[in-house]
């Protein structure tokens, strides 16, 4: 701080501190505190806000446990609150998306880092970046066209004779959502993993080859451990974006797929109950924090590594 005063003088230092305070306090901390505070208040008509009925309680959070529905899994049927069910499925499918993204991105990341001719790498990266520049809503919309009942995918499959009747892709539970999320976010896995593998010394791989290691063992013992920070940051980003996505589940979801963000959206926009929406939003934030913490602990990486 002393150093900063000496270098930039009082006026500039003060300006800088004020700007940072504006960002962190006005735009981040206070809104989140407000969200937290509101989540404990009941939803009341405007005139009753601040009145005797406006007291703090956990009622908004307890709404998660309302409305039991019957579900069955592996032949066992059980009763479960509908929002808990949605919450669980959101986490499950977000993890599935993360795993599939990793499976798809890892070979290409390795290819980009170690196999491809370095001179054509910039061109390849540019090609891969194109879908990233086209906005998320259009990427989801593209799959909406492809998966349509009379769309090109069904037409293609019918033409090569893989199926006899067209399939309603967007009416098969979470299929559309998962397909859309993978397409939208796979690049967020690719680039961190690529960065990590790139820093691996190729000599290590060659040494292992010379010593007779089979290819899978090279990956398992050398490349994968080395790329752990990249995998961790890619996984965290993909999981968070998937679990927090509202666009893709709304466009590609079916009648039987409900994403937790859609539940929050309904509380906020349809029920106009901002307090319960706050409580649910806070639950989502909590889930994400827990997930990031676990991921950092399992992979033994720091927050600053993820941000790269």
């Amino acid at each position: 701080m002393q150093d900063m005063l000496r270098r930039y003088g009082l006026g500039l230092t003060l300006t800088i501190c004020l700007l940072v305070a504006f960002w962190l306090v006005v735009l981040v901390i206070v809104p989140n505190i407000t969200l937290f505070e509101q989540s404990f208040r009941p939803y009341l008509p405007v005139v009753e806000v601040g009145g005797p009925r406006d007291t703090y309680s956990f009622n908004n959070y307890l709404k998660v446990f309302d409305g039991l529905v019957q579900k069955s899994l592996f032949g066992i049927s059980f009763m479960i609150p509908v929002h808990v069910y949605t919450f669980g499925l959101t986490i499950f499918y977000s993890m599935l998306v993360t795993v599939i993204c990793f499976a798809m991105a890892y070979p290409l990341a390795y290819y980009m880092a170690k196999i491809v001719n370095p001179r054509s790498l910039p061109t390849l990266i540019l090609l891969l970046f194109i879908p990233l520049w086209v906005s998320e809503v259009l990427r989801a919309f593209a799959w909406w066209i492809i998966l349509a009942f009379r769309g090109p995918l069904n037409a293609l499959l019918l033409w090569i004779g893989a199926i006899e009747d067209p399939i309603r892709w967007t009416n098969m539970g979470y299929t559309g959502v998962v397909v859309g999320l993978i397409y939208t976010y796979v690049l967020f896995m690719l680039f961190p993993v690529y960065n990590a593998i790139q820093s691996l010394d190729t000599n290590q791989i060659e040494a292992a080859e010379d010593l007779g290691a089979p290819w899978w063992k090279i990956h398992w013992r050398i490349v994968l451990p080395h790329s752990k920070p990249g995998i961790a940051s890619g996984s965290v980003i993909v999981f968070m974006l998937s679990a927090g996505s509202l666009l893709v589940p709304s466009i590609l979801g079916s009648t039987t797929s409900q994403w937790f963000t859609q539940t929050i959206d309904q509380w906020f926009k349809d029920a106009l109950d901002w307090n319960t929406a706050s409580a649910y939003a806070f639950l989502l934030l909590l889930l994400c924090t827990v997930f990031v913490t676990i991921a950092m602990w399992v992979f033994k990486v720091k927050l600053s590594d993820i941000a790269k």
Binding site: M1, L12, W23, L127, I130, V137, F141, I251, I264, D265
Partner: protein, 290 residues
């Protein structure tokens, strides 16, 4: 065997690129199909009618304008705040640095929907507390200005990271020298530090601009009645869609491609110049040795 695996890898790369680009081709193709629903099958003949319909779509043009000014505002504020934060982080150390840095980074990880709702609630509640439930004045009502603030709250962190990376290569001895030679603090900032940061600030501005255009979650919860392009496309997809969206998508993709090609040509030219220079240097060295 090695050769075979190599070919397999090339094949996988081609498949992956196809997987990424094919949906965009399908979407663009549907813009030219003379069919009421956006699709490429069945093909009903070429038409450019969806482009003229897109131009006459007032709401879409309005949304387009909104998107642009929101993106510019987000980029400008993010650059100012992000650069200031990077300078601050670079000047403090120890615990304060860890805490500040952690807080800044964690904004990227907050789900957009949480940012949207919290920003909306804070500003409207604050307005309610200050002016009562009746007529709240401008900054306290829902609208795109709240979307700008919400988006800045995490996009500033991205700018901060880019600028901070650039600051690592800055020699603070230059600042010392300028101060010793009698430069004022403002001069040091304007003539020495900022010029060094310009590449990172430019990149940060571009990132912020595109992130803002992409943004849906924050905008959806704070926009009030106004549209941005993303929100407009979203509402169209849900409530009866026409291929005007495809026409728009096609234009966006074409612009992206043009920019990409331009960048690539420029990069190749620079690489060639660089290679020529290196060869020149090598020749000169050899000549010296002889």
């Amino acid at each position: 065997m090695h050769k075979f695996r190599q070919n397999l890898a090339h094949l996988y790369m081609l498949l992956f690129v196809f997987y990424l680009l094919a949906p965009l081709v399908v979407m663009s193709g549907a813009a030219f199909n003379d069919s009421k629903l956006p699709s490429i099958v069945p093909w009903k003949g070429w038409t450019t009618m969806w482009f003229s319909e897109m131009i006459s779509d007032q709401r879409m043009m309005l949304a387009f304008g909104n998107t642009l000014w929101v993106a510019v505002a987000v980029a400008v504020i993010s650059i100012i705040v992000g650069t200031a934060s990077a300078i601050l982080i670079n000047s403090v150390s120890g615990r304060a640095r860890t805490v500040l840095y952690g807080m800044m980074i964690s904004t990227i990880l907050i789900p957009g929907i949480v940012i949207g709702i919290s920003t909306m609630i804070m500003w409207t509640k604050l307005g309610g507390a200050l002016f009562g439930p009746g007529g709240k004045p401008w900054p306290f009502i829902p609208g795109l200005h709240l979307s700008v603030l919400g988006q800045v709250s995490y996009i500033a962190a991205m700018v901060m990271l880019l600028v901070l990376a650039r600051l690592q290569s800055f020699d603070s001895g230059l600042e010392e020298a300028a101060l010793d030679l009698g430069a004022s603090h403002a001069q040091v900032m304007r003539r020495i530090l900022l010029p060094h940061l310009y590449p990172a600030i430019g990149a940060g501005g571009a990132v912020a601009f595109f992130q803002s255009i992409e943004n849906f979650n924050v905008t959806q919860f704070t926009r009030g009645g106004a549209d941005t392009l993303t929100v407009y496309v979203f509402s169209k997809v849900r409530a009866g869609i026409t291929p005007t969206i495809n026409a728009l998508a096609f234009l966006l993709i074409v612009v992206t491609l043009l920019l990409a090609v331009l960048y690539e040509v420029n990069r190749r030219r620079r690489a060639r110049i660089e290679a020529a220079r290196e060869a020149e240097a090598r020749r000169a060295e050899e000549a010296l040795l002889i």
